[in-house]
């Protein structure tokens, strides 16, 4: 299995805190990889380093053989086109309608509304949203609907990789299930490499691989189907929510 993303010895310090302390990780092409970890472990920062929103202090992030940490500003802008990023709280632009939010990349390129509208409608259907929301504003939608709009916006650029930052945080179990199913559908139909940041153990059902981030390092990487049989002490403790084990309860507060 080839890897579309290869992270080698990635280090990032914020203030006195070592967020990424030598991360090594390979994301297999066309599969769903879940990165688990406790709150505050730097999972979102890892995603932001992968896409280029944050620059690491050292280490390399190879995307299809190109080290994205050394790209020029213009080359990085081109690199963004390969990625889709679904933000934790969708990050829709408040002042724009749903149509404008989803179609923003095409509208900014100067495409007419007549050209963009059918494409936006198609993406809305892909994320199981009715066309009634087109001219509403983000504030008029529920959390789950906003996340689906965020995904539709990402799909517009036909990315090779989609990064999801805690896609079900703050959602009820039923809506979480709907979002998980949607992510799974996208991955199967569009063959997109998917990276999901989560601490929701339900996500294993939809994933191919699981990585566990703890104290700036990847402590476990393995097949999602066999995760419950793993005797790795970190993953064993994390997925069972055990207080005793190598992951200390106060670890985040002390660092």
């Amino acid at each position: 299995m080839t890897s579309i993303i290869k992270i080698v010895d990635l280090k990032k310090k914020l203030g006195d805190r070592m967020i990424s302390d030598g991360i090594n990780l390979e994301i297999p092409t066309g599969q769903t990889t879940v990165i688990l970890g406790r709150s505050g472990e730097g999972k979102s920062i890892l995603l932001k380093q992968i896409i280029g929103l944050m620059k690491p202090d050292s280490g390399t992030i190879m995307v299809e053989g190109t080290d994205v940490t050394k790209l020029s500003e213009k080359a990085r802008a081109d690199q963004y086109a390969k990625f889709g990023y679904v933000f934790q709280f969708a990050a829709l632009l408040d002042s724009l309608t749903i149509f404008e939010n989803i179609g923003i990349t095409l509208l900014e390129k100067g495409e007419s509304v007549d050209v963009v509208l059918p494409i936006v409608k198609e993406k809305l259907s892909l994320v199981n949203l009715s066309h009634d929301v087109l001219y509403k504003y983000p504030a008029d939608l529920s959390g789950g609907m906003r996340k689906r709009v965020g995904l539709a916006r990402t799909l517009l650029t036909s990315p090779e990789v989609i990064l999801y930052d805690e896609p079900t945080t703050g959602l009820d179990p039923i809506t979480s299930r709907v979002i998980h199913d949607l992510i799974c559908d996208m991955q199967h139909h569009l063959k997109i490499t998917t990276v999901i940041i989560s601490h929701d153990v339900e996500i294993f059902k939809y994933a191919d691989n699981v990585a566990l981030l703890h104290q700036g390092k990847i402590r476990y990487f393995g097949d999602a189907k066999t995760i419950w049989q793993s005797d790795n002490p970190y993953i064993y403790q994390f997925i069972r929510g055990d207080i005793n084990g190598p992951i200390q309860h106060t670890a985040n507060e002390n660092r």
Binding site: F87, Q88, F89, A91, L92, R153
Partner: protein, 258 residues
């Protein structure tokens, strides 16, 4: 003594860092302005938000400043028997100084803080990151329209303030102080030259640039949730006002021989 030197060093470093970061920000905005397509519809929207939305406070500020200026001038001129010069003093004061500066300060309070709050909220809710990941230059999309709009609209707002100030002075001189209307009008038309008006408008354009650049900078680098946005908004007003007052002296000196 060592503590004092260390404190001085720290402050110097912080000031240099701030100036460097602000210069880089302005450079990025200007580069986006030159290299990317200018979205005229977005500039016009911002001109409406900043300009039309601020018209009432500019009219009120200009009118009452002119009225107070006329009253205060009367007290001084009466002592030396020069009441007939009040019109000239009010008009020149409003056109060269008070119109541009008061407009700049009022718009900093209203629109500069608004820019900081809006962009700051977009920063903490990751909307700016979202734009970046969609390959949309946030400088070009968010900052350039605001900067261009405020630089264009401020001179016109200042013109309103100047006119209202002169009219306010007229009302006080003629209807309150019972001075001659002809004297006031002839004083104004004799003393105020086109170069005074152009100088005032140039100042206003610079103030417009400053207030939106400072507001956008504070918002763009806001962090720390709602508290951070609040702090960015306050900083935008304080820093913007101080920069307007300092640059006003320099501009006055530079435009002396216009």
């Amino acid at each position: 003594m060592v503590h004092l030197i260390s404190l001085l060093g720290r402050i110097t470093l912080q000031v240099c860092e701030l100036l460097g970061s602000f210069s880089l920000f302005v450079f990025n905005v200007l580069r986006a302005l030159v290299t990317k397509r200018l979205r005229l519809h977005r500039v016009i929207t911002q001109m409406e938000v900043i300009g039309v939305g601020s018209l009432i406070i500019v009219i009120l500020t200009g009118t009452f400043s002119g009225m107070v200026f006329a009253l205060q001038s009367y007290i001084g001129f009466q002592r030396v028997g020069g009441e007939q010069f009040i019109g000239a003093v009010v008009a020149l004061g409003m056109v060269r100084e008070l119109g541009p500066v008061l407009t700049g300060l009022m718009i900093t309070g209203r629109a500069g803080s608004g820019i900081a709050a809006e962009i700051g909220t977009m920063r903490i809710t990751e909307q700016i990151d979202a734009l970046t990941t969609l390959s949309i230059n946030p400088y070009n999309y968010l900052i350039v329209p605001r900067l261009v709009a405020s630089t264009i609209i401020l001179p016109f707002l200042a013109l309103f303030a100047m006119l209202c100030g002169i009219v306010g002075g007229y009302v006080v001189c003629v209807h309150v102080l019972q001075l001659s209307a002809e004297d006031y009008i002839s004083n104004v038309s004799t003393c105020v030259e086109m170069r005074d008006i152009i100088g005032g408008m140039i100042k206003s354009a610079v103030f417009g640039f400053i207030l939106s650049a400072v507001g956008a900078y504070q918002g763009f680098f806001a962090h720390g949730g709602a508290r951070g946005v609040g702090a960015a908004t306050t900083q935008a007003v304080v820093t913007g006002s101080i920069m307007i007052l300092i640059s006003n002296y320099m501009l006055t000196k530079m435009l002396e021989h216009l």
